[in-house]
């Protein structure tokens, strides 16, 4: 399709361990795409490879196998080999704004740096542009003279977002931007992000473990488990017709505050077990050790990704056979 801005095809990322020929299979063959102006949520437990996927797209890690294509151009190389032009178009916001902002620089300096590196505006205008950026994310002008330590967590994250916006990116990777923040502050950050996304028609790859948040902002959601995508579908579909047993387990574990939400949860699938080590990935379906529906076949044969409905894919032996 033409409107796909980012296409990830069969990427793998293995990290070597101390033992020869044993690898941490952080990402094990995943494929997905991101359309222009779309928000895709990548959801999974810790250790499922969500952040590694983000870092591979950013070029912070080299990829073991597979390709990443951005606007039709192959970007599988690490960031050191990428052009400045390309770096400008893809930006990232990290989880912890406390460590991703330089404590010794004022907010003004932090925002001016990428403006000058990428020659977005002449040096004389950088300060004014930095002020505009702060306005865009809804921070008061005087923030420009402050240091990160004098800002609250939410304000720091807004600065990090403003910094990502300096280069007018087409794609933003958001790596758990609100999971370190309180809910009342999270709401403001998310609203700002959504407004900006509409205003500049950016695409977001939103990495999080919060399914309820994704339900409200994402167009499509991909559920990752142990380096694989198990199910990917439009956000609302997950609540009307979840397919994969893992998705059901995940959804029924979410603590909610309304009775109406309680009713939306799929029939209770008891959550059992823990995510296995990515060094010893179970044979067959990688979820079988925790799956209540596991059959003999699941222990030996890895299920293929099947298209079940429009835009809705899942990898499970139980799914698709009925349709």
């Amino acid at each position: 399709m033409n409107d796909e801005i980012l296409v990830v095809r069969n990427i793998k990322k293995y990290f070597p361990t101390k033992v020869k020929d044993r690898y941490v299979k952080a990402i094990d063959d995943i494929s997905f795409s991101l359309r222009k102006g779309e928000i895709v949520g990548l959801v999974g437990e810790s250790g499922s490879g969500k952040s590694t996927t983000a870092y591979c797209i950013m070029g912070m890690h080299g990829i073991t196998a597979g390709t990443v294509t951005f606007e039709g151009q192959d970007i599988s190389m690490p960031s050191s080999q990428r052009s400045l032009e390309l770096k400008r178009k893809i930006q990232i916001v990290f989880q912890d704004p406390g460590t991703s902002l330089n404590p010794q620089r004022t907010i003004g300096d932090i925002l001016k740096m990428p403006l000058l590196v990428h020659h977005i505006v002449p040096r004389a205008k950088a300060f004014d542009r930095a002020r505009e950026l702060l306005q865009m994310v809804g921070l008061p002008e005087e923030t420009i003279y402050k240091y990160p330590r004098s800002l609250g967590g939410g304000e720091r994250q807004l600065v990090a977002i403003a910094r990502a916006l300096t280069t007018n990116p087409a794609l933003m990777v958001l790596d758990e931007p609100t999971s370190a923040l309180d809910v009342s502050i999270q709401a403001k950050i998310i609203n700002t992000l959504i407004d900006l996304q509409k205003q500049f028609n950016m695409s977001y790859l939103f990495i999080t473990h919060d399914m309820s948040l994704m339900r409200n902002i994402a167009d499509r959601i991909a559920i990752m488990y142990l380096g694989r995508i198990l199910e990917m579908a439009p956000a609302a579909d997950f609540f009307h017709k979840p397919q994969h047993p893992y998705t059901k387990m995940l959804l029924s574990s979410i603590p909610v505050v309304l009775q109406a939400e309680e009713e939306l949860k799929p029939d209770k699938v008891e959550s059992t077990g823990e995510i296995p080590s990515p060094v010893n990935v179970p044979p067959g379906c990688r979820f079988h050790s925790r799956c209540v529906y596991a059959m003999d076949r699941c222990h030996t044969e890895e299920p293929e990704m099947r298209v079940l409905f429009l835009d809705h894919i899942a990898a499970c032996h139980l799914c698709g056979s009925a349709q």
Partner: protein
């Protein structure tokens, strides 16, 4: 309800911290109680004083903390006046606490077994130093927490176990000694939702079986809704609202509670609400009057000068906000009939 029924009763407690810039007035006169076998939630955002409150019950506050006023009555004794011996006995036998980060609360250089056995030995449950009996109790504690293969786990070091397992060991340790009250300080914040679900179920079933009271501290209203009978909502060192769990979610009253509930993304997919603008007030120079005033949409002149008292609205619902002044404030007699806490 009779006050003698209360296992824990905190009355008008103030806690200050001595910090570089002066005195930080953190806990600002709170009342809090828990009955035997009751599960109480303490909900609020980070930095609002939840942990400080419960640490004062165990008297494990850092040495910069000063308690200028208030009483903490636990099981008939005033904790703040206790001598060290009595305090240790109380901590060993009646009270236990689970912390947020199980990695930090287990000692990395001792095996899990040694740590559980020590807990049992110092609790004074087993007379003398009966190693066999202590070991049996340790295995029993792990089995109760549905840990597979407890003998092997006793010989493991914490780093050999996953986060969920470590938290289960902390729960096992907390419940190994026959305790009357368990305090769980954000026990599942560091865990994934599926593991969180398992750990919460475990805490619930074990506390219910043993009729242990539970104080659950959490910033997640969803977790509190699933786990507790009654919820206290805390903001900037004040209890702003208290009600039975169902009431809080059906009829939240305080503007802060409402804002908090509205900020939570819902599975029903109605989009993201506005959240609450602003941030926590400075504790060194806290505002006079209501501490929520700077973030409140309903703030009036009076809120800036007077601190709102707790209004009792019946059904055990209590809210500290001038908006509810004069709304069915019950007399003492009615309050006892309604089963709501009395005003002191």
């Amino acid at each position: 309800m009779e006050q003698q029924d209360r296992l824990l009763d905190i009355r008008n407690l103030y806690i200050n911290y001595q910090v570089y810039g002066g005195l930080s007035y953190v806990i600002d006169g709170i009342d809090f109680y828990a009955q035997p076998g009751e599960k109480v939630g303490l909900v609020g955002e980070s930095g609002c004083g939840k942990t400080t409150t419960v640490k004062s019950i165990l008297r494990v506050l850092p040495k910069q903390a000063v308690i200028p006023g208030g009483e903490i009555i636990f099981d008939g004794d005033d904790v703040l006046k206790m001598k060290n011996n009595a305090l240790n006995a109380m901590r060993g036998q009646k009270l236990s606490m689970i912390f947020q980060d199980p990695t930090a609360s287990l000692n990395p250089v001792f095996t899990v077994g040694r740590q559980i056995r020590d807990t049992i030995r110092y609790s004074g449950m087993v007379g003398g130093n009966n190693k066999k009996q202590i070991n049996d109790l340790a295995i029993r504690a792990l089995m109760d927490c549905s840990m597979p293969d407890p003998e092997r786990i006793l010989d493991c070091y914490p780093f050999q176990l996953s986060g969920g397992m470590r938290q289960r060991i902390c729960i096992a340790m907390a419940l190994a000694t026959a305790s009357k009250l368990m305090i769980a300080d954000e026990p599942t914040t560091n865990l994934d939702v599926t593991i969180q679900d398992q750990v919460l179920k475990l805490i619930r079933s074990l506390t219910e079986q043993r009729r242990t009271s539970l104080i659950l501290i959490t910033h997640s209203l969803g977790v509190a809704r699933e786990m507790t009978d009654r919820i206290y909502v805390m903001y900037a060192g004040n209890i702003v609202e208290m009600a039975p769990t169902a009431t809080i979610f059906e009829r939240p009253l305080h503007p802060y509670t409402r804002g908090l509930l509205a900020s939570i993304p819902k599975l029903t997919g109605e989009g993201i609400m506005a959240g609450i603008a602003g941030r926590l007030p400075n504790y060194i120079n806290p505002p006079t009057g209501c501490r929520f005033q700077s973030r409140c949409k309903h703030c009036r002149e009076r809120c800036k000068t007077d601190k709102p008292p707790a209004y009792h609205l019946g059904g055990g619902h209590q809210v500290s906000c001038f908006l509810y002044e004069g709304q069915k404030t019950l007399s003492a007699a009615e309050r006892i009939k309604e089963g709501s806490p009395d005003e002191r």
